[in-house]
């Protein structure tokens, strides 16, 4: 039973244990961040509200941004060509504030399946898709995806046919990557606006496929 807890800790109204308070000491880098932030504010370089605004701006970024780009690429061949040539500028022209991010879009076809990883750290197109999922930052994903991508993909429920080449993109330096998934045949005739609902975050990392919205 999911709610059959083994101890006598009080449970919240949802039936789960209360989360423990974070009564732990600040780490070296947490102290450093607070010190630098307070100094910058004291010296008048930035304000607390600007810091908070920037955090909100990052929190507001979500895979929905990427999904609208994919949906347009599925319906507008000229836009798609521009996206595959210069993804950063094309995203900016569409109105996305992606900062200085350098972006490459790679296209899934009948003969190629692309998947993105960062073996050295956790580079991810945050300025477009928001924060990466936790598994993307795990050692298991980062190390295994370059060694056995087909096995990793199968654990995500994606089976790649033997006649399709898998291309693993390791974001080792200055570029960030977005996969342009293949448009499912069942999505033919769907409008650009509604097509965006077919595009999942995972399909833009390459570990998932687009699917009809539930």
């Amino acid at each position: 039973m999911p709610h059959d807890h083994q101890n006598d800790e009080p449970l919240s109204s949802s039936g789960h244990p209360f989360r423990a308070d974070d009564d732990t000491k600040l780490s070296y880098w947490q102290v450093m961040e607070i010190a630098v932030r307070e100094l910058l504010i004291e010296k008048g370089h930035i304000s607390a509200s600007q810091v908070h605004e920037q955090i909100n701006r990052m929190d507001a970024r979500s895979p929905a941004n990427g999904a609208t780009i994919v949906a347009r690429a599925w319906t507008d061949p000229q836009f798609k060509a521009a996206l595959l040539t210069n993804a950063g500028q094309t995203s900016r022209d569409m109105g996305f504030d992606i900062g200085p991010m350098q972006l490459i879009v790679v296209e899934n076809t009948n003969s190629v399946h692309n998947v993105v990883v960062c073996t050295l750290c956790s580079c991810y197109p945050r300025n477009l898709l928001g924060l990466p999922p936790d598994w993307y930052k795990s050692r298991a994903y980062r190390s295994r995806t370059v060694v056995e991508p087909r096995k990793v993909l199968s654990e995500f429920g994606v089976e790649i046919a033997p006649d399709v080449q898998v291309r693993v993109h390791d974001s080792t330096a200055d570029m960030r990557y977005l996969v342009l998934p293949a448009k499912p045949a069942e999505a033919n005739g769907v409008s650009e606006t509604l097509l965006a609902n077919w595009v999942t975050r995972d399909s833009m990392i390459g570990v998932g496929l687009p699917r009809a919205p539930v």
Binding site: L120, V146, Q165, V166, T172, A173
Partner: protein
Amino acid sequence: MKVRVHSHWPPGHIRTPAYLRGKQGEIEREIGLFNNPEQNAYRLASEQRALVRVRFTMAEVWGDGAETPDDVIEAEIYTHWLEPV
């Protein structure tokens, strides 16, 4: 163009992954000039270096242990880490 990644092991902030050092691949595209991260990471005056994407086969990188020999890995490598083959 065919290239080989240097098999150098200097200390510091290196963006050339260890598993690709000494491996041979093909330049997929040139990306442009960027500040050399090996200096930039330490706030040293950094030189602009050319960055390219290199395509490696799984067979080249993992040898007989490759999951599927014809699958590929593409990575960004600074040209001062590359030599022509």
